[in-house]
């Protein structure tokens, strides 16, 4: 494929009326302002009065939701749905200070139903926030220099970075870059400051969105940094992934991967998860240029007619990887170098205390599905009151109390002990399992996930125990719908919801996220799921080769055909 033959009938070059209505919405939104300010004042509804504003607010990190468990009951009571909002914080690399933690804690207690959710992209979500609490909450975050810009919406989302409790300098350096890139790629509109902080609108001759323009991205765009040997952030699931190259005391550059993504839709074979493709290497100083170049290609050529087909992964498969790479290089003004060797060994977390070369200590605490309930909030508030280091949220929804001096370890342990968190009783299986939020807040959920995962794991643990595999590390991920927020399609065992109590079952993913899995059972309930897994795990126990990973076994044993390319995962 060459530039002049490329099909441009579905992209930015087209007039708005030929594109998806959302494109008009963005273009005419006055740079994401819409009528949000007015909507916030409407006292007759707990929702936003205009559906357009609901969409625009995603760019501000805010999702309108409703408590689905009382929907029907309220309809009969002639009450509108119990509208509430989910607010996602922008927290590059998942790092926050104790002061920031205490603010999260305070805001969650005051406005967020006394709960916080740590996400698979290393940030916090507030749920159960009422319309009237949006402004106070966002202003509260502002007090500790945090915002929610582009936490959602058709823009570049929260930038992830390996938590890497093994290295210190390296991590500090890379995570600082994650922060810098995040600040660089977020929308620049002043609308956010006007609506939430009450800033005056100032007339300016400068373009409000130098990079995005009025139309922003065709769809969400995700960037992450994975520091080998840990692939905890699942670099192959990212639209744009950077793999730092160098040695602990000298960062040289990055291998670049593009076009990863999980989301698929049932009964729609044209949708599929895709692993990001390695396209080369860039020196450190080219990081920003490369980021702009890659995003520009997706901005200009991404599908703006059909949102289901608008992610970067489809643009790449449609236009061809080589052509895309060439376009990127054209934008950068230089070519990618040969990718450098690297090796990932896991995408899980390492629990307990870890020491880094700088003599600091880091303790990873297991948090089931990232849900901080009131007990955990109380515990961590006590920690935050004395902790001098930082907190790191892991992509596996766990928590690291990071940067602890040797002399302070005891006091941290004492607090954890007081709250019964010192001894990790959770199994290896459980500690690295991921479940998305789903019911009752997620508007797209088809089946339970976060609320069902604990019991499902207990039953799976029993099966493993029966076959003497109690300590086996297997990645298990559950999503309440095929969107795949728990990155299920690269797990060794995955469940995605189809209907209440019904799931698709997937096997054969790579242990450190290097291979997609494939659906082996469709739309079945727990008994059938367990019966099937019992059988497969039984075989694994008896037929596995030494140190053979469960995912690899499933393929070698022919239980599932290997998926070599995302677009082939449905056939």
């Amino acid at each position: 494929m060459t530039t002049n033959s490329v099909d441009r009938s579905r992209d930015l070059s087209q007039p708005l009326d030929r594109l998806n209505p959302d494109e008009t919405l963005k273009a005419t939104s006055d740079f994401l302002r819409g009528t949000i300010s007015e909507g916030l004042l409407d006292r007759i509804t707990g929702a936003m009065s205009s559906p357009d504003d609901v969409k625009l607010m995603k760019f501000h990190g805010i999702y309108q939701q409703d408590d689905r468990s009382v929907r029907d009951e309220r309809r009969r009571q002639k009450l509108e749905p119990a509208y509430q909002f989910m607010i996602r914080v922008r927290l590059p690399g998942g790092i926050c200070t104790s002061a920031q933690w205490l603010k999260f804690d305070e805001l969650a207690r005051a406005h967020g139903g006394e709960t916080l959710r740590m996400t698979t992209r290393q940030t916090f979500q507030f749920h159960w926030v009422l319309k009237g609490s949006l402004q106070p909450l966002i202003r509260g975050l502002h007090e500790v220099l945090l915002d929610t810009i582009a936490a959602c919406g058709d823009d570049s989302r929260g930038v992830m970075c390996t938590v890497d409790p093994q290295s210190s300098r390296f991590h500090a350096e890379v995570s600082a870059m994650a922060k810098r890139i995040s600040d660089h790629v977020i929308p620049k509109t002043r609308g956010y400051h006007e609506i939430w902080y009450g800033d005056e609108r100032v007339a300016s001759s400068e373009p409000e969105e130098p990079f995005y323009g009025r139309s922003y991205m065709p769809r969400k765009f995700k960037i992450a940094f994975a520091v080998p040997p840990s692939n905890d952030i699942d670099v192959y699931a990212q639209d744009l992934g950077y793999i730092p190259i160098g040695n602990p005391d000298r960062l040289e550059g990055f291998n670049v991967v593009i076009g990863g993504g999980m989301g698929r839709t049932d009964q729609a074979p044209e949708t599929y998860p895709r692993l990001a493709s390695l396209i080369g290497y860039i020196p450190v100083e080219q990081l920003t240029a490369c980021t702009d170049a890659v995003m520009a290609v997706q901005r200009d050529y991404g599908d703006r007619k059909e949102r289901m087909h608008a992610r970067f992964k489809y643009t790449i498969d449609d236009k061809g990887l080589d052509w895309i790479k060439a376009e990127i290089e054209k934008n950068m003004g230089f070519a990618f170098e040969e990718a450098r060797p690297f090796e990932f060994t896991t995408n899980g977390d390492s629990f307990g205390w870890n020491e880094t070369p700088d003599g600091r200590h880091h303790r990873t605490v297991f948090v089931q599905s990232g849900r901080l309930n009131i007990e955990l909030l109380d515990a961590m508030r006590d920690v935050a009151r004395v902790h001098k280091g930082t907190f790191r949220l892991t992509p596996n929804q766990n928590l690291i109390i990071a940067g602890v001096e040797s002399e302070d370890k005891a006091s941290i342990d004492a607090i954890l002990d007081m709250h019964g968190l010192l001894i990790e009783t959770a199994s290896t299986l459980r500690k690295n399992a991921i479940a998305c939020v789903a019911f009752p807040t997620c508007g797209l959920a088809m089946a339970e996930s976060e609320r069902y995962m604990p019991t499902f794991l207990t039953k799976l643990e029993e099966i493993l125990a029966r076959h003497g595999l109690a300590d086996e590390e297997i990645t298990v991920r559950m999503s309440g719908c095929p969107n795949g927020c728990s990155r299920p399609y690269i797990a060794e065992i995955a469940l995605t919801g189809r209907a209440p109590g019904k799931y698709n079952v997937y096997l054969g993913g790579g242990f450190h996220g290097q291979r997609l899995n494939r659906m082996v059972r469709e739309n079945i309930a727990e008994p059938a799921i367990l019966e099937f897994l019992e059988e497969v795990i039984g075989r694994y126990a008896s037929e596995r080769e030494p140190a053979e990973k469960f995912g690899d076994f499933c393929i070698r044993a022919g239980i599932v055909r290997e998926v070599t390319e995302g677009r082939l995962s449905n056939d």
Partner: protein, 600 residues
């Protein structure tokens, strides 16, 4: 006992039997009390027949006017009956609602017969307010050659019993008018008193006309409305077709939406009317009383000329929760407790009222135990169970044959017990699916929508929003083009926004022009409807100037007065007039029926 020797002459055979029987069962204390009780009653009735002035000659040509002030229709009903009866005697008289009465005519009046009830803190019925303001003001004319008589309706559980009647009675005298007969005060069981008073009036004035044989239409006192198939006295057994809590989970309220089917009843109503429900008492409370009395539910007694079982009577016929002064007298006599006697003294009215508020029948019985109370004696101290009224929340035009209500169950703690409201908690707790309840329509001509093109401002809190749902349904069906503005107040937005989705629908299709809400418990600082009104002062005044009608419904103790003051403030500030002028402005709104209230 002279009367009882030849009861026949005074009583109907039926009555005399009762009296005989009663007498035979009387304990001394009861006898004493009864004589006192009857003496009082008699003084009232008997005094009617004693002319207090010498009847001037040739008065048959005197102008005769019947004035009534009413909210729930009792006074109107009796006044109408009187009108019919007098006309039957060949008298010419005009019947007039104080609400419509042209006060400047007062000077030309000669004989004025007044029937008036009392509301609020001893206030006149809402529609009669401006009449009262006029007659109690300096503008009132002298009434030297006017003769008058007052029949006052009230409820003895209220502190200011029959106070509106008392006020008119005193004021007419002040203005120089002379009483035809002393005022008669009637409790909620006003029927007998009303009949007696009506008869006396007919005799007194009838005697003055020189006309001979007129068909002596006996004062069919309360029978006039008997033509209506179903009414207060002959309620319709309506099936409950819907009965759900309409406040969301976690609400501090329990408000319900209830639907009755009126199919086949022939009952019709207009938006603004209320539904009367003849509820029965909570069997549990009846049991408690029986236990305290150590009487059996099967013990028989005489009620309205039929023998009834005590249990049945206490469940269906009498108020058994809140105590009346009559019950207090009764119990004082039986118990001879000093503490109760002390309350009898005239100058202890205040304490007495407080005592009655904090001691219901059962509390008094428990605190001052008395043994050997008879079934007959006990019920003689109770008053008839009154139907409860509920604003209709639906319009027949929109929901034919249906009657919708918005009901807030009444629950409160008294002496460390949770007590429940008779009617509201019958609806909330004691209904089964296929239940039927006796209902009737209580028309309210003073809470009506104006012409279709006239704008309306509706103000209500809690269940006070009910009639506005009926208003909006009606205006939607009629395609009325007048603007509609609703002010609604409750506690919490998320749970207590009554009929939220319906208002949202009407706002969307512009049936409802504007809506402002105030939720008092969402934030630390309390916001009520009057605060929202203040915020909209300019607009509200503009609407008033365009001829908007204003409605207030719901709580009588706080909402109504606060909204009233706010209205005056708004007129004063936006109309740039003084307070005086603003009050006149609002007063004239009232007298032009442009400011209507239905508060309880």
């Amino acid at each position: 006992m002279s009367r009882l020797e030849s009861p026949g002459q005074i009583f109907t055979p039926e009555q005399s039997r009762v009296v005989q029987e009663l007498a035979s069962t009387l304990a001394p204390a009861q006898a004493r009390w009864l004589s006192g009780y009857f003496a009082g009653l008699e003084a009232g009735l008997a005094s009617l027949s004693q002319p207090t002035v010498a009847v001037p000659a040739a008065v048959s040509t005197r102008k005769l006017t019947i004035l009534y002030g009413t909210e729930t229709g009792n006074a109107a009903e009796v006044a109408r009956a009187l009108d019919v009866a007098l006309k039957g005697k060949g008298l010419t008289c005009t019947l007039s609602d104080m609400a419509d009465y042209k006060v400047r005519q007062l000077g030309q009046e000669q004989d004025v017969l007044i029937v008036v009830s009392t509301y609020g803190e001893g206030d006149p019925p809402e529609p009669a307010v401006s009449f009262f303001e006029f007659i109690e003001s300096k503008k009132a004319p002298k009434l030297e050659d006017v003769r008058f008589s007052v029949l006052a309706f009230g409820d003895s559980t209220y502190e200011f019993y029959c106070n509106a009647g008392k006020r008119l009675d005193a004021r007419f005298e002040e203005l120089g008018a002379t009483r035809l007969t002393p005022r008669l005060d009637c409790d909620v069981d006003y029927e007998d008193g009303a009949v007696a008073w009506t008869e006396t009036m007919v005799e007194r004035l009838g005697a003055e006309v020189s006309v001979v044989a007129v068909s002596t239409a006996q004062p069919q006192a309360l029978a006039t409305s008997a033509q209506i198939a179903h009414d207060k006295r002959n309620p319709f057994l309506a099936p409950v077709v819907e009965n759900i809590v309409i406040v969301g989970r976690g609400s501090t309220k329990e408000t319900r939406h209830i639907e009755f089917s009126l199919e086949g009843s022939g009952l019709t109503y207009e938006p603004g009317d209320a539904l009367g429900i003849a509820a029965s008492n909570d069997p549990a409370v009846v049991e408690t009383l029986l236990a305290e009395l150590s009487l059996s539910p099967d013990d028989e007694l005489e009620h309205k000329g039929t023998r009834t079982a005590l249990g049945e009577a206490l469940t269906q016929k009498f108020e058994i929760t809140a105590a009346t002064p009559r019950f207090l007298d009764y119990w004082t006599l039986l118990s001879e407790a000093d503490e109760l006697k002390a309350l009898q003294a005239e100058d202890h009215a205040g304490e007495r009222a407080v005592f009655l508020r904090t001691h219901h029948v059962v509390d008094i019985m428990r605190r001052f135990p008395v043994s050997g109370v008879t079934a007959q004696g006990f019920v003689s101290a109770l008053r008839p169970l009154q139907p409860r009224l509920y604003s209709l929340a639906s319009s027949l035009a929109a929901t034919p044959d249906e009657a919708h209500l918005t009901v807030a169950p009444v629950r409160y703690e008294l002496h460390n017990e949770i007590r429940t409201g008779v009617a509201s908690c019958l609806l909330a707790d004691r209904l089964t699916d296929d239940d039927h309840l006796p209902v009737y329509i209580q028309s309210n001509p003073h809470f009506r929508l104006p012409e279709d093109d006239v704008p309306v401002i509706m103000i209500g809190a809690g269940t006070g929003v009910a009639p506005y749902r009926a208003f909006m349904q009606e205006r939607e069906v009629r395609g009325a083009d007048g603007n509609n503005w609703l002010f609604f107040g409750e506690r919490n937005f998320r749970t207590d926004f009554l009929y939220q989705t319906e208002w949202q629908g009407w706002l969307k299709d512009e049936t409802l022009t504007r809506m402002d809400v105030a939720f008092s418990r969402d934030r630390d600082e309390k916001v009520y409807v009057q605060h929202r009104m203040k915020e909209q002062s300019r607009e509200i005044f503009a609407w008033l100037e365009e001829g908007a009608h204003v409605y207030v419904c719901g709580d009588a103790t706080n909402l109504a007065p606060d909204v009233h003051d706010t209205l005056i403030d708004i007129v004063a500030s936006e109309g740039h007039t003084g307070r005086e002028a603003a009050e006149d402005y609002v007063r004239s709104l009232q007298s032009d029926h442009r400011y209507q209230r239905d508060v309880y």
